[in-house]
Symmetry: C2
Subunit: 236 residues, 2 copies
């Protein structure tokens, strides 16, 4: 690549990191856990959010930022579950960036929220390079995609704190996927986070995902209390 | 976006178009039909190629350029079918470009070939913006991805001459996909090409795909004869 284009890309990523840090300060100040969901198109991000919102109704306050090149479809699906959602339409852009997320925070009050999900554009490459200011990155790998995807898209899977293997109810119909091979492939590319298998039919994996979420929310809220205590001590 | 980054991107695309035209001249000079296959990760591009190569054995001479961020897996799968394949490993790059294709043409003699397939990086956004110098763009949409993908990734589907709806054997298990809704969605985003439903189990759709391919090969070879005749007439 040309030197001038490398310089421009580096400048774009530096500016993105600055805005991402600013977003994180917003989230931390409110004790809101922010989670970036990434995957190929059609791996089940929105379906996972619908099921999660229903399962946590009355327990957690959730809001969602949806990213797509076009349509408001996903935000409409989330609003139908009774929680606030804003849609970012990226046009030709293949990923969300920190500024896009920052721009919609004005339309999404953070006060009182427990979790903010950011559903990124369906793309197993580009979103991994842009920090949004979230606390956790979750990558979905759906059974019909095949268990070779971590080896072929290592940057994305390494960027995640949690990999959810989705659509495991389809395992009997998909010979190209073995959960053992997928787990091996994730470890081989250097992913050292948690791996959970989920299905839209619920079950043990879905419960494990909710528990992972509860722990992460508790950590974000403890972080807010610590920040508050430190401020109070500094002021006293 | 900053003015300077727009200028750099425009310069990159202009240079890509120049190299793409050069690639096309190579293909035309040999009467080789070049086809770019694009889709999400795991939509069945390599499986389609394996089945196509087997079905056309003895009828057409085929070669394949494989694009992935990492691994030689797909090239190895194609070579196991008995045809030449070269693997491009893009590293962090989210798409193939014309220069990458040009660079590997030295390793892939075009003489005597009928079809050169270029399997792009699995990505439903970025590959659509980079002409590789091919004659036809084919986009795959797999049933498990859901029938809303044309609406959400309109640029990619509009860029295609043919949309293959793949994995239709999974239709009984996937409530998120109706072939009628997918066809409507393709027409609504302005796709005016051919739509064919295929399954790894063969059947009428797979025969229609082979016929589409035979027609396109015949057109490329007629083009070569016309160019040859025009050259002969110009020289006489």
């Amino acid at each position: 690549m040309h030197v001038e284009s490398i310089e421009v890309i580096t400048a774009i990523l530096d500016e993105n990191d600055r805005v991402a840090q600013h977003n994180r300060e917003h989230f931390d100040a409110q004790g809101v856990l922010a989670i970036n969901l990434m995957s190929s198109p059609g791996s089940g991000k929105t379906s996972l959010l619908e099921a999660t919102i229903k399962a946590l109704a009355g327990e957690m306050k959730v809001a969602v930022i949806e990213g797509d090149l076009a349509t408001e479809n996903d935000a409409a699906r989330i609003r139908a579950c009774g929680v606030p959602a804003v849609q970012i339409q990226t046009g030709n852009a293949c990923h969300l960036d920190a500024q896009m997320v920052h721009d919609v925070l004005h339309d999404l009050p953070l006060g009182g929220l427990d979790v903010l999900f950011v559903e990124n554009v369906g793309n197993l490459v580009c979103p991994a390079s842009f920090d949004l200011g979230v606390h956790r990155n979750v990558t979905l790998l759906s059974v019909p995609e095949g268990d070779d995807k971590p080896a072929k898209y290592p940057v994305m899977f390494r960027a995640g704190d949690l990999t959810l293997i989705t659509k495991v109810d389809l395992l009997p119909h998909i010979e190209e996927f073995s959960v053992d091979r997928a787990r091996d492939s994730l470890r081989q590319v250097g992913f050292d986070g948690t791996i959970i298998e989920v299905s839209k039919r619920g079950g043990a994996g879905f419960t494990a995902w909710l528990d992972w979420l509860r722990s992460a929310v508790a950590a974000a809220q403890a972080q807010k209390r610590n920040v508050g205590t430190a401020h109070a001590e500094a002021a006293s």
